[in-house]
């Protein structure tokens, strides 16, 4: 089943279809196909929890910081359990090959990530079981299976309330917050490590590295700042030499520079860089 929340952009149809599919699965778990008898709610707790846990594992694969990463953040792919053979990994290119120490560090980080994921899975299990127990306790043993869409929605709302409550009870705990942070920090460290490998490769091909581009950009910024300062310093002197020098609005306009050209909403040139 596709998870529309891990991809870039809005896809309400996909999100709706996915949620509707889950809703139908849930109704089936509520005992809908039964032969007209009230469901045995207490026996539903285990399958309900199992189904719910599966969804949590899928949708919250590696914790919220990383759930979107498969599509967007190269170091944060959703399936952490397998090393990324298709992504960076050790680079088998003679002079560009990553140093043994770097490779070991990457593997250590993948291992750490897998361990943390196992701990996270335990949290999902706890949430799923608590939610199912709450739901069974609240629905009442005499309740029958829903017969109309409105009744089905009512049951669904009860289920969501139980699920959110169980989720909140776990994710507000300090242990969970620590685990989240560890996951995010490990994934970020892995990304940094992978970028280091990429820099090695880029250097081997004689291309500018990220660090070099950053350094150049810093120099451009510095130059812009110096130019702005020199321009600012020169303007009052020139204004004094010419005539007035006292027109504050004109001075303010000069400070701001010329108005942007028409249709220049996307123009990116910094006009008065200072930092």
């Amino acid at each position: 089943m596709e998870n529309p929340f891990t991809s870039a952009g809005s896809r309400p149809e996909a999100a709706f279809a996915s949620a509707a599919e889950r809703f139908f699965e849930l109704l089936k778990a509520f005992g809908m196909p039964a032969t007209g008898q009230p469901p045995n709610w207490s026996s539903l707790a285990a399958p309900l929890a199992g189904q719910f846990e599966q969804w949590l594992r899928m949708s919250q694969a590696a914790g919220p910081w990383l759930a979107a990463g498969g599509a967007a953040w190269p170091g944060a792919s959703a399936g952490f359990t397998a090393p990324p053979s298709a992504s960076f990994g050790p680079l088998p290119l003679g002079p560009a090959a990553a140093q043994a120490g770097e490779v070991q560090r990457t593997w250590e980080l993948w291992g750490r990530l897998a361990q943390l994921q196992t701990r996270l899975a335990a949290c999902w299990s706890e949430i799923a079981n608590t939610a199912a127990q709450r739901f069974v306790a609240r629905v009442g043993s005499a309740a029958g299976a829903p017969a109309t869409p409105e009744q089905a929605m009512k049951l669904y709302e009860l289920w969501v309330n139980c699920a959110e409550e169980a989720y909140a009870a776990t994710v507000h705990k300090d242990d969970f917050a620590r685990l989240q942070a560890e996951l995010a920090n490990t994934a970020a460290a892995l990304l940094v490590e992978q970028r280091r490998h990429a820099e090695t490769l880029v250097r081997a091909f004689g291309l500018p590295t990220r660090n070099e581009v950053d350094a150049l950009y810093g120099q451009v910024k510095d130059l812009r700042r110096q130019l702005a300062e020199l321009t600012d310093a020169a303007r009052p002197a020139r204004a004094g030499e010419s005539r007035t020098g006292g027109d504050e609005r004109a001075a303010a306009r000069r400070r701001e520079g010329p108005a942007p050209r028409r249709g220049s909403a996307r123009r990116t040139r910094a006009r008065r860089p200072r930092a």
């Binding site: 949620a19 509707a20 949708s59 919220p64 609005r249 306009r253 990116t268």
Partner: protein, 355 residues
């Protein structure tokens, strides 16, 4: 809930029909547009653009000339068009109807060249540049600043450091105390290694989206869609829904250094409350904000808990402080019917009373 003997087949048939109808309507609404009021870019710096909204036909010219310009400073983490989503859900339009001259900052998308843009640059150069441009265009009279969410934090800082530029300040769903016990987002990011965030490069908008959705995953990724089966399926209602979806999933990437600083300084170290924040070598004290201040916050806000906003009352130096709590959620504060009925009117009347 229902009597035994119900026909599950009939229920599934009904629900399947509703799913098909809803899907068809969602497809029809796929191309809805967002943003409704005409505006033009008047200044830019880096990726940031300052827009000036064109006055509405029929709005009072005399009122506009007599009023101070209003600058809206939105969050870096979302797009500002939520404030002008559609004609009947638009704070901007209500302000224009009241005859105000409205400016809006769009931070746009930082790219890899902007990964080292920091909060000082956003506040002093980008926000400050917008303010200076407006002052120069309006006779150097101080303006009114409306800060929204994270943009409210930037606005508070700017107002404290540049009192002479800001006449009155309005904050909307703005966190001030980042360490209130109910702040789940704060708990989660408290132990992040912000040096790694900086080193990782810009953070894609999708990562922050996933984080926000994970605060209440069942309501935000399941229930709200399933509720379409029971709700109003008129084309207009579906279009409204799709517009919101577009906005929610249309998040810009975040400049690495600025985001890392925001997490460290506010979520981790709570510097605004502790008075330990420094920007451009100057200490930021909320007590230095002496302008009239209206603080609006949402009572059911899961991103900025009400207590996080309400804490502003005890911190600011303003003698003219008002706050207003609205019974809605974080996003509801910008677009819900109840907030549309309460928020723009409150802002306009508050500004009018202090002209």
């Amino acid at each position: 809930m229902t009597a035994p003997g119900a026909d599950p087949g009939a229920l599934f048939a009904q629900l399947t029909l509703r799913v098909a109808e809803t899907l068809a309507r969602l497809r029809q609404a796929r191309d809805v547009t967002v943003g409704c009021s005409a505006k033009r870019p008047v200044w830019n710096c880096g990726k940031t653009t300052l827009h000036h909204y064109l006055p509405l036909a029929g709005a009072s010219v005399a009122r506009r000339r007599a009023s101070r310009p209003v600058l809206i400073c939105f969050a870096l983490v979302n797009r500002p068009y939520i404030l002008d989503l559609q004609p009947d859900r638009s704070l901007v339009r209500r302000l224009l109807e009241a005859g105000l001259s409205v400016y809006l900052i769009d931070w746009n998308d930082p790219d890899e060249a902007d990964r080292r843009v920091d909060l000082e640059e956003y506040i002093e150069t980008h926000l400050g540049g917008c303010v200076r441009h407006i002052l120069a265009s309006h006779g150097d009279e101080p303006l009114d600043l409306l800060g929204v969410c994270q943009g409210g934090v930037l606005s508070l800082i700017y107002s404290a450091l540049h009192r002479e530029h800001i006449a009155r300040l309005v904050t909307l769903t703005t966190p001030v105390d980042f360490h209130t016990p109910d702040n789940l987002l704060s708990k989660w990011v408290r132990q992040l290694d912000t040096r790694l965030i900086e080193a990782s490069g810009n953070i894609p908008g999708e990562v922050l989206n996933a984080l926000f959705l994970a605060l209440m995953p069942f309501r935000l990724t399941q229930q709200k869609y399933v509720r379409l089966l029971a709700g109003n399926t008129e084309p207009q209602a579906i279009e409204d829904f799709v517009r919101m979806e577009k906005w929610i999933f249309d998040s810009p990437p975040q400049a690495a250094v600025a985001l890392a600083q925001f997490v460290r300084w506010f979520y981790q170290e709570n510097r605004l409350m502790r008075g330990t924040l420094e920007i451009a070598g100057r200490r930021v004290r909320l007590a230095d904000i002496r302008q009239p201040l209206l603080n609006l916050y949402a009572l059911e806000d899961h991103i900025v808990p009400p207590a996080a906003s309400a804490a502003l009352r005890e911190q600011v130096g303003s003698r003219d402080y008002s706050d207003c709590a609205v019974a809605t959620g974080h996003i509801g504060m910008y677009v819900s019917r109840s907030a549309q009925a309460a928020v723009p009117g409150r802002i306009i009347s508050w500004l009018s009373e202090r002209r």
